[in-house]
C-alpha cells in the first residue's frame, strides 16, 4: 500500500508543521515582556497606563539594578506611560514605539494607584482576567501615590532580574508578616465573594527621611514594635526608595482604608497565615522601660468558631496559637526560668490579643469590611447558598461579637539558657 503510506506520511507531516505552534510562533527576541503594569488616573483620559518592560540587554548581566525610566539611564526595566480609556487595546499603542509585541505572559505585578482603588477596581480587573495572557498568580499592589512614580523609582539594587523582586515580595512576607500578599485570582475571588472582603499590599516611594520621619512610639505604649508604618513612611536611609508594608482594605471593589505593617501581622495571625516575624514586647518585669525581642512563629492555624443566635447575631471566637522564641532581653531579667517565662508568655499573649482586637474593631467600625474572612466560617452554618447569600454576612459583620484568645508558648530561648544581669557601666 505505497499510496496509503505516502498519504499517511503527508498527513503526519502537515499536522506536525501546522500544529506544533509554528502558526503563531514568535521568537523571544520579538516580544517585549511587561513585568509590571501600573494604573493611575489620567489627566486627559480615564487612565494613565504604565508598563514596566524587561530590558534584556541589561538583565543579561551588565545592568546595575532594576527599575528604570524612559530617559537615557536604561535600567533592567523600561518604563513607559500612555493615557487611555482602555487597558488591553492600549498595549497595541505602545507597539508603535516599542519595536516588539508587548506581552503580559510574564507580568508579575499589577499596581493600582490608591486614587483608582478608592473609586473601585472591578472595571479594571474584569477585562484583564478575561485576557488569556494574564496569570492569576500575579501580585496585586496598591500604590500610595502614583503607580507610575513607584514603578519609575523602584530600583531593586540586589536583583539583576526585575521579575525576581516581585517573586521575592510574594514569599518575603513569610519572614516578617508586614504585609499580606495578594494574588490576582484570590483578589478577584474576594471581590465576588459573599464571605470575605479583599486586601492588597501597599507600596510607595519613601516620603520621609530620618529627619522628617514620624517619631517612633515610646516603649511600653505601642508594645510590639515602633510606630505602625504604612508604605513610604519607614525612615530608611540608602537603598531602594520603594517600600512595601501594610495593606489596603477593600469593601467590595473599593478601597476604604489602610492598615499598617503591625496590623498586617495581626491580620495574618487571625487568618492563620502568619509564618514568622521578629517582634518586641514591653518587658513585663523591668522597673524601667525595656523591651524583650521575640522571634514568633504561628504554631498552627488559628481556630475560628462562629455562633449565630436565632436573631441572626453572630459571635466569633478566635484562638491564635503562637510560639515565640526569645532573641533579646534588654533588662537582663532571667526570662528563661519557669515563673518568668510564664509571665512573659502572658504579657505577650495579652499584647497580641489587644492588637488583634483593635484591628477587628477598626475593620468593624472604620472599614465595615471583613478582611479576615470570618464569613468563610460563618457560612458553614448554612446548608445551601440561597439562605447564606440572603443572610448578607458582610452587612452583619460590623455588629458581630468577636473574641480573640492568644495562646503563646515559649519553646526555645535562643543560644542562652539563663540571663545573668551584668554589673552595668559604673
Amino acid at each position: 500500500m505505497p499510496v496509503l503510506r505516502a498519504l499517511v506520511f503527508s498527513l503526519a507531516a502537515i499536522i506536525t508543521l501546522t500544529t506544533c505552534g509554528c502558526w503563531g510562533a514568535r521568537e523571544t527576541d520579538e516580544v517585549a515582556y511587561i513585568l509590571s503594569l501600573g494604573f493611575d488616573r489620567g489627566k486627559q483620559s480615564e487612565l494613565l497606563l504604565s508598563v514596566g518592560i524587561a530590558n534584556p540587554m541589561n538583565i543579561a548581566g551588565t545592568g546595575a539594578g532594576g527599575g528604570g525610566s524612559g530617559d537615557d539611564e536604561a535600567g533592567s526595566t523600561v518604563i513607559m506611560g500612555l493615557e487611555s480609556n482602555s487597558i488591553i487595546p492600549s498595549l497595541n499603542l505602545f507597539d508603535i514605539s516599542v519595536d516588539r509585541r508587548l506581552s503580559l505572559l510574564h507580568t508579575k505585578a499589577y499596581i493600582f494607584s490608591e486614587e483608582l482603588a478608592r473609586e473601585g477596581l472591578q472595571k479594571l480587573l474584569l477585562p484583564l482576567i478575561r485576557y488569556r495572557e494574564l496569570r492569576g498568580t500575579s501580585l496585586i499592589l496598591i500604590s500610595r501615590g502614583s503607580a507610575k512614580d513607584y514603578m519609575e523609582n523602584n530600583k531593586p539594587l540586589l536583583e539583576l532580574s526585575p521579575t525576581k523582586q516581585f517573586e521575592l515580595i510574594r514569599a518575603l512576607t513569610g519572614n516578617h508578616g508586614l504585609y499580606s500578599s495578594t494574588l490576582y485570582q484570590h483578589f478577584y475571588d474576594d471581590l465576588n465573594s459573599f464571605a470575605v472582603d479583599g486586601t492588597a499590599p501597599l507600596v510607595a516611594i519613601q516620603e520621609s527621611d530620618q529627619e522628617t520621619a514620624r517619631a517612633a512610639a515610646g516603649v511600653g505604649v505601642s508594645n510590639l514594635t515602633t510606630e505602625d508604618y504604612l508604605a513610604g513612611e519607614v525612615p530608611l536611609t540608602g537603598g531602594n526608595p520603594a517600600q512595601i508594608i501594610g495593606n489596603a482594605v477593600f469593601r467590595g471593589d473599593r478601597m476604604v482604608g489602610s492598615i499598617g505593617g503591625e496590623e498586617s501581622r495581626y491580620l495574618l495571625m487571625l487568618q492563620g497565615r502568619f509564618r514568622s516575624g521578629k517582634l518586641t514586647v514591653a518587658d513585663p518585669l523591668a522597673g524601667e522601660p525595656a523591651l524583650v525581642g521575640l522571634e514568633v512563629r504561628q504554631a498552627r492555624r488559628s481556630k475560628i468558631k462562629t455562633r449565630i443566635d436565632p436573631e441572626g447575631k453572630v459571635a466569633i471566637d478566635v484562638d491564635i496559637y503562637l510560639e515565640p522564641e526569645i532573641i533579646g532581653i534588654m533588662s537582663g531579667i532571667n526570662y528563661e526560668s519557669g515563673e518568668n517565662k510564664a509571665v512573659l508568655e502572658e504579657a505577650f499573649s495579652l499584647e497580641i490579643q489587644r492588637g488583634c482586637q483593635d484591628l477587628i474593631r477598626r475593620t468593624q467600625e472604620e472599614f465595615r469590611s471583613d478582611i479576615v474572612g470570618f464569613g468563610n466560617k460563618a457560612k458553614r452554618h448554612f446548608w445551601t447558598t440561597s439562605p447564606w447569600e440572603e443572610f448578607r454576612w458582610l452587612e452583619r459583620y460590623p455588629d458581630a461579637e468577636v473574641n480573640v484568645t492568644v495562646h503563646s508558648r515559649i519553646r526555645r530561648t535562643g543560644l542562652l539558657l539563663k540571663t545573668t544581669p551584668n554589673k552595668g557601666g559604673e
Binding site: T18, W23, G24, R132, N192, F382, T384, T385
Partner: protein, 365 residues
C-alpha cells in the same frame, strides 16, 4: 463478521475511564458549578449512582444475549424497523459527541495554546488522529490508553496535588450548594450524561464478552467519577464558585494557578499535552463507535470504509456552530439530554420489552 480484536479488562477499564474524563477538560465543569454552586463535586456522586445503574441494566441485557452487542440486541428485541431507528439514535449520538468534542477541544486549544491557528486546522489535526485511531481499531485504542494512562491519570493527579497550597476548604461550604434538588436532580442527571455505557455495550465482545461487562463498567465509572469528584472539589476549593462560573476552561485555569516556589510554575504545558491525548482518544473512540455501530446496523463485513465519510461529516458539522458559546449551549441543551437516551432510556426499554415478551410467551397457549 466485523473483526474488532480483543483486549483485556485492564485496557477496557482505562479506555472507558479516559473517555469519561475527557469532558472535564472542556467548559463542562463550569456548568456543574452553575447548577450546584459549591456542591458541584456532589453532582458526580449522584451521576456515579446513575452511571452504575446504567451499567447494571446494560449488563443484565447483554447477559441475556451472550455473543451479541447492543446493536444486534436492539434489532432483535424491537424488530428490524424500530430496532434500526433506535440504532440510528445510537449512531447519531456517537457522531454528535465526536462532532461536539472535536470543535470544543479545538476551540479550547485555541484559547489555551494556539491563539493564531485557525480552528479548521486544529479540528483537522484532532480528526486526523481520530481517523487514524478508529482505522487501526479498538484494540489499538485500548492498548494506547493502557500505555498512556499513567501519564494522563498521573498528570491529572499531579496537577490536583500541586494546587493544594491554593485551596481553601471553606469554599466547599455551604455544603449542599444550591440545594439537594439541583445537586442530585439536574446536576446528577447532567453528570450521568456520558458516552461510556452505550460505548461499552457496543464494544462488549472486544472487551471479553458480557460476563466481564459489569465489572469493567463499574471499575471504569468508579475511577472516572472519583477523579472527576476530586477534580471538582479541588477546583471549588481553589476558586470560589462565583468566579468559577465565569471561566471558559476551569481545568486550564486551575493548572495556571499552580505555583510551588519560583521554579515550579507555568505547568499548564503538561496539562495541554494530557488534554490533547485525551481529546484525540475521545474523538477516535466516538468515531469508532459510530462506524462500528453503523456497520453492524447495515450488516457490513467491515466498519473501516465508513470511517472516512463519518469523519468528514463530523468535521463539517463541527464547523457549523458560529462560535464557542453556541457550541457550549448545544453541548448543554442538546448533547447532555440526548446522552440519556441511548445510555439509559434505550436499555430500560429493551429490558421492558424483553420481559414483556417473556411474560407473553409464558402466558401464551
Amino acid at each position: 463478521m466485523i473483526r474488532e480484536g480483543t483486549f483485556g479488562p485492564a485496557e477496557a477499564v482505562i479506555l472507558l475511564a479516559i473517555s469519561n474524563i475527557a469532558r472535564f477538560f472542556l467548559p463542562y465543569p463550569r456548568n456543574l458549578v452553575e447548577i450546584a454552586g459549591s456542591a458541584a463535586w456532589m453532582t458526580l456522586l449522584g451521576g456515579l449512582v446513575l452511571a452504575l445503574a446504567g451499567i447494571y441494566v446494560m449488563s443484565v441485557i447483554l447477559n441475556k444475549y451472550p455473543g451479541k452487542t447492543i446493536i444486534e440486541i436492539t434489532e432483535e428485541v424491537f424488530g428490524p424497523a424500530v430496532g434500526m431507528l433506535f440504532n440510528l439514535v445510537t449512531v447519531s449520538f456517537f457522531l454528535a459527541v465526536g462532532t461536539l468534542f472535536t470543535r470544543e477541544f479545538s476551540e479550547a486549544m485555541i484559547i489555551a495554546a494556539l491563539p493564531e491557528t485557525p480552528v479548521s486546522v486544529i479540528s483537522v489535526a484532532f480528526l486526523a488522529m481520530g481517523l487514524a485511531g478508529a482505522y487501526l481499531g479498538i484494540e489499538i485504542l485500548a492498548r494506547t490508553s493502557r500505555l498512556s494512562y499513567l501519564y494522563v491519570l498521573g498528570g491529572i493527579v499531579l496537577i490536583l496535588l500541586a494546587i493544594i497550597p491554593q485551596c481553601n476548604p471553606d469554599n466547599l461550604f455551604p455544603l449542599f450548594g444550591k440545594g439537594p434538588l439541583p445537586v442530585f436532580g439536574a446536576g446528577s442527571l447532567s453528570a450521568a450524561a456520558i458516552t461510556e455505557v452505550i460505548l461499552a455495550a457496543v464494544l462488549v465482545q472486544a472487551m471479553g464478552g458480557a460476563k466481564q461487562f459489569r465489572s469493567i463498567g463499574f471499575r471504569a465509572m468508579l475511577i472516572a467519577y472519583g477523579l472527576g469528584a476530586a477534580f471538582l472539589a479541588t477546583l471549588t476549593m481553589a476558586i470560589n464558585y462565583h468566579s468559577l462560573t465565569e471561566f471558559t476552561l476551569p481545568f486550564y485555569k486551575l493548572s495556571r494557578l499552580i505555583y510551588l516556589g519560583r521554579f515550579f510554575q507555568r505547568v499548564e504545558a503538561v496539562f495541554v499535552i494530557i488534554w490533547s491525548v485525551v481529546g484525540a482518544l475521545k474523538i477516535a473512540l466516538t468515531l469508532y463507535g459510530a462506524a462500528v455501530s453503523l456497520a453492524r446496523l447495515l450488516k457490513l463485513p467491515d466498519y473501516r470504509p465508513l470511517i472516512w465519510p463519518l469523519g468528514l461529516l463530523m468535521f463539517m458539522v463541527s464547523l457549523l456552530p458560529p462560535d464557542l458559546p453556541s457550541m457550549i449551549r448545544i453541548d448543554l441543551d442538546f448533547l447532555r439530554p440526548f446522552a440519556l437516551l441511548p445510555n439509559y432510556v434505550l436499555p430500560v426499554l429493551v429490558l421492558i420489552i424483553f420481559q414483556l415478551r417473556r411474560w407473553v410467551r409464558r402466558a401464551g397457549p
